[in-house]
């Protein structure tokens, strides 16, 4: 058995800069060994430990969908030591990947339901994975209406613009994009995510709301969803925390007795309310 | 100035009594909100810092030869409390032997404590017993009781009793300490139990260092490696140090990562070396770092060297007066350049 601490090696196939200031990039990685690709069997919402050998590791949500074969994608913001070093990488460089880790979005439970995907800013990566997965022809029939509400500070920060444009043209998905303040050339919605959710006003009937974003956005959106009569069980969130091992051994990502890395990162709001812990 | 050794225990009892009285009146008259002092430890060879807010608890305050923690460590950042949802800085009375008071004076100089909020309850100290040495030397016998009388430390266990000479079993730094009581300092409001001392400079020949300093670099490296080889990097020395108040220690900095966090010898030495560097002109020689070390590493060599450097180069001793600028906060045109490469 291979040690869970040893990363699988991948090479960078492409790098796409996602925003104007160039501090968020999407990396497409291809496994060096074909067997590794099969071993890396994931569902949307899971994450992986990305490591730059010689620099360190950091946990990053998987942005690609399992239906996209041949490569995996990670959207990485330049923040700390490792992510800064990754941002200096070029196509062809070697990156280690350990995963898939975490529980991911509960796909089986989502089946047969209306899905409302609410994202804010840079936290959209695992949501992209989910939407992509649901829209795949093999899976689309398993889900009912799909609504995507996605907010950003300004339009240059919107991730995955190609995908979003494609989705906007599609019939079987509603996409509502919003930016915080009006901007020249923007004809979409303007305002924070929470009021837009209120305006879109999704019905809680047979629905699940998936919320991912900065803490303040989650907070306000929760209030709105509460107002719209969503039950805590119907709201799913993905948490993040400082992690090292990603497999529940190094100890730091606990909220109460739960480890974000193995019991999470996806929790329903009902679960979160029951958890006593620091986060 | 060697004081005649009286009965240490009797002296301590006397001081303890007076200290409680002073503390009680400070609390009753609301001159302070909280008293930081020492309480009896639950295990022998220890004492426990205690925060007293109620007058009823005053009798938990103790004073003996095991009050090794430097209490000045607890006032940076200042103690606060929420009153009606508003953060209020507390007025603190601190039981202070010489080194605690020196630390407070130096912290005031570094603008880390507000002298207005601090009341020094000055205590004449007759040294702290070297608990780690006793533990180590008694080997695997469990000490259950320790007392000091006249010039003896009496250590008792299940089926043994040892009498140790008091002067020998003091903390290494207490042996060379010249400032046992708080130095008088005009702008820190003091209450002194017992006599206070007026001291503006300390004379010392640092003869205890000469043996080490005469070694070759290789020998020195060997001694230091040997000394620090047990270090587990628990950072108890850093945490117990009143001068280590940085929000983010250089050890914890990760942009950039200055050096490794591993327990390799080179990393351990760098940690202690750089910590020492930061202590120059600031170390008050309380010896708390050595007393708290779970592995019993005695850092006195380094502490003494720091004292020597600043004394000899800048004629400065940390924490004696609020009027003198600490050497690392100022500079002079005519500072010595003997360490530099000249044209000669």
């Amino acid at each position: 058995m291979l040690s869970p601490y040893i990363p699988m090696l991948t090479t960078i196939k492409s790098i796409v800069s996602e925003n104007g200031v160039n501090d968020i990039k999407t990396y497409e990685l291809v496994f060096k060994n074909k067997e590794d690709e099969e071993k890396f069997d994931y569902i949307p919402g899971q994450f992986a430990e990305i490591s730059l050998i010689g620099k360190g590791e950091c946990p990053i949500g998987i942005a690609s969908s399992p239906t996209e074969k041949g490569s995996i994608k990670f959207t990485i913001k330049k923040m700390g030591t490792v992510t800064s070093a990754i941002h200096n990488c070029e196509v062809g460089d070697i990156i280690g990947v350990r995963g898939p880790l975490g529980n991911g979005w509960p796909i089986e439970e989502l089946k047969g339901k209306n899905i409302i995907v609410i994202g804010g800013g840079f936290a959209f990566s695992t949501l992209r994975s989910l939407v992509y997965y649901m829209l795949h022809e093999d899976n689309r029939a398993n889900f009912k209406d799909i609504t995507v509400i996605y907010g950003n500070r300004n339009c240059s920060e919107i991730l995955y613009q190609d995908d979003l444009m494609k989705w906007e043209r599609m019939e079987d998905i509603d996409v509502a994009l919003t930016i915080d303040c009006a901007e020249e050339g923007w004809d979409g919605r303007v305002g924070f995510v929470a009021p837009i959710v209120e305006a879109v006003s999704p019905s809680p009937e047979n629905a699940v709301a998936i919320v991912c974003g900065p803490p303040i956005m989650i907070k306000t959106t929760e209030d709105v969803l509460d107002k719209l009569n969503f039950q805590p069980e119907q709201i799913l969130e993905s948490l993040e925390m400082r992690m090292k091992c990603g497999i529940g051994k190094c100890g730091r990502c606990n909220i109460g007795e739960k480890f974000v890395c193995i019991d999470g990162p996806v929790f329903s709001q009902a679960e979160l309310r029951k958890m006593h812990g620091d986060r | 100035m060697v004081k005649q050794m009286g009965d240490i225990q009797a002296e301590n009892v006397e001081i303890e009594k007076k200290m409680r009285e002073v503390a009680r009146s400070l609390l009753i008259e609301k001159e302070v909100d909280v008293i930081i002092g020492y309480a009896r430890g639950t295990v022998p060879l220890s004492s426990s810092p205690i925060f007293i807010k109620n007058v009823e608890d005053i009798d938990s305050l103790i004073w003996d030869n095991l009050c090794y923690v430097n209490l000045a460590r607890y006032v940076v950042p200042p103690l606060t409390e929420f009153v009606d949802n508003e953060k209020v800085e507390l007025k603190v009375g601190i039981v202070s032997k010489g080194c605690v008071a020196r630390a407070l004076i130096h912290l005031a100089k570094e603008k880390q404590v507000d002298p207005e909020k601090i009341k020094i309850i000055g205590i004449p100290c007759n040294g702290v017993v070297n608990r780690r040495r006793i533990e180590k030397e008694l080997g695997e016998k469990e000490v259950l009781e320790i007392s000091v009388s006249n010039d003896q430390v009496i250590v008792k266990g299940k089926d043994f009793e040892e009498v140790l000479p008091y002067q020998d079993y003091l903390n290494e730094l207490c042996k060379t300490c010249k400032v046992k009581s708080p130095p008088m300092s005009s702008s820190l409001s003091d209450v002194i139990v017992g006599e206070s001392i007026e001291i503006s400079s300390v004379e010392d020949d640092f003869s205890d260092l000469s043996e080490y300093e005469s070694k070759t670099p290789e020998e020195k490296w060997e001694v230091i490696t040997e000394l620090l080889s047990d270090c587990t990097r628990c950072y108890a020395c850093r945490e117990a140090c009143p001068m280590c108040y940085c929000n983010l220690c250089f050890v914890d900095q990760n942009k950039p990562i200055w050096f490794g966090k591993t327990s390799e010898m080179s990393d351990i030495i760098v940690f202690h070396l750089v910590r020492a560097m930061h202590m120059a002109g600031r170390c008050v020689g309380c010896g708390a770092c050595s007393s708290v070390c779970p592995m019993g590493i005695d850092l006195k060599l380094i502490n003494r060297k720091l004292e020597k450097i600043v004394k000899e180069r800048f004629d400065f001793t940390a924490g004696l007066s609020l009027d003198v600028m600490p050497p690392m906060m100022t500079q002079k045109m005519e500072d010595s350049e003997d360490f530099m490469l000249g044209e000669h």
């Binding site: 497999i247 | 409390e81 180590k136």
Partner: protein, 356 residues
């Protein structure tokens, strides 16, 4: 009779015989501290000891352990997994509380979908020879723990020794232990007197443990006490050092760092002990820290052992060795903390908010 007698001067012989097959670890004195080290000279073995300062977990979960090493050659990277895990380890003279800590660590490292292969492999290859504790410290409280802790507990070892004064009574426990004893044909037979003496010592040792803690309900009391003012109180004089956790036989938290050798273009990824008492432990890159003050950090340590462990693994994460009690620089006594927690039971159970 399966029990044997090992004369004290035969320890040398035992070392000689066993170190041929095993890396022989035993307590030894290094600069006044008892620690477990690999023994090459049997004279160094120190068996008359209370308990080691650093727990023997250090052998299986070292302060610094390589996860894997690598070579960097321009753009190519070659990963080399650990190859030294097959080393046969023998740990001699382990106190029963520390021997139990091995079982406890095994439960933890083997839990869940991902197993810690480094620890598990080493544990598999390890033989533990326990040594009865005839002289418990005043701070010991193993008998209060849920694992039937006892200074003469034999369950977690392969061979159990009892110090009878002149000799050690050798008691093979596991199959491995029996096999080893069979090989040591020179051991003399024990008689009933020896067994009886061991029995007496066991009773005596038990009576010497003066600390009795009620840990029956601690886990459930802790459940609603997350925001209790108690935590501020118990953390008030905490320094925030890592002594209690580094020297705890059950603490397992680690940090993963890179150790690069620039000289030779190689490096290794290592794990080093880390502790929940440090600010960096949970500090996120964004600057947010879920456990920002020592109140939360002290709380995490206690809850982890006395609430999260029972919930996750159905056992208390403490062996009762008392190291954190007598080594804490400011004497922040765990026993007092437990007593304070137990006192909550009688309080009104309404939740109070900590004023931080």
């Amino acid at each position: 009779m399966k029990e044997k007698i090992l004369k004290k001067d035969q320890v040398k012989q035992l070392h000689e015989d066993l170190s041929r097959y095993y890396s022989f670890y035993a307590p030894t004195k290094v600069k006044g501290n008892i620690v477990f080290k690999k023994i090459t000279n049997p004279e160094d073995i120190e068996l008359e000891y209370l308990n080691s300062k650093i727990p023997p977990k250090e052998i299986l979960f070292p302060r610094m352990e390589t996860l894997f090493s690598y070579k960097i050659d321009e753009k190519n990277i070659e990963i080399e997994p650990r190859t030294d895990l097959e080393e046969k380890i023998l740990i001699f003279g382990v106190r029963p509380c520390d021997a139990y800590s091995f079982s406890l660590l095994e439960t933890f490292f083997n839990f869940g979908q991902f197993k810690d292969d480094l620890f598990m492999k080493k544990k598999e290859n390890t033989v533990v020879i326990g040594l009865a504790c005839n002289t418990p410290r005043a701070t010991c409280f193993c008998t209060s723990l849920d694992y039937n802790g006892h200074p003469h507990r034999k369950d977690d070892v392969d061979i159990f020794l009892t110090d009878l004064g002149e000799n050690y009574l050798v008691n093979p426990i596991s199959e491995t232990g029996k096999a080893i004893i069979d090989k040591l044909a020179w051991l003399s037979e024990a008689n009933n007197d020896d067994l009886q003496k061991a029995e007496e010592l066991s009773k005596k040792a038990e009576s010497l443990i003066s600390t009795k803690l009620d840990l029956q309900h601690t886990a459930e009391i802790l459940d609603p006490s997350f925001n209790h003012p108690l935590w501020k109180e118990v953390s008030e004089n905490c320094l925030g050092c890592g002594t209690c956790t580094f020297l705890c036989p059950t603490c397992t938290c680690f940090d993963v760092v890179e150790d690069v050798d620039h000289y030779n273009n190689r490096g290794k990824r290592v794990r080093i002990w880390d502790t929940c008492q440090f600010c960096l432990y949970t500090l996120e890159t964004s600057g947010h820290n879920p456990r920002n003050t020592k109140i939360e950090r002290c709380r995490n340590r206690v809850l982890h052992k006395f609430n999260y462990y029972p919930k996750n693994y159905d056992l208390i994460g403490c062996v009762g060795c008392g190291r954190c009690i007598h080594l804490c620089p400011v004497n922040n006594d765990l026993r007092e903390i437990i007593k304070k927690i137990n006192a909550i039971k009688n309080e009104n159970k309404k939740e109070e908010v900590v004023v931080a």
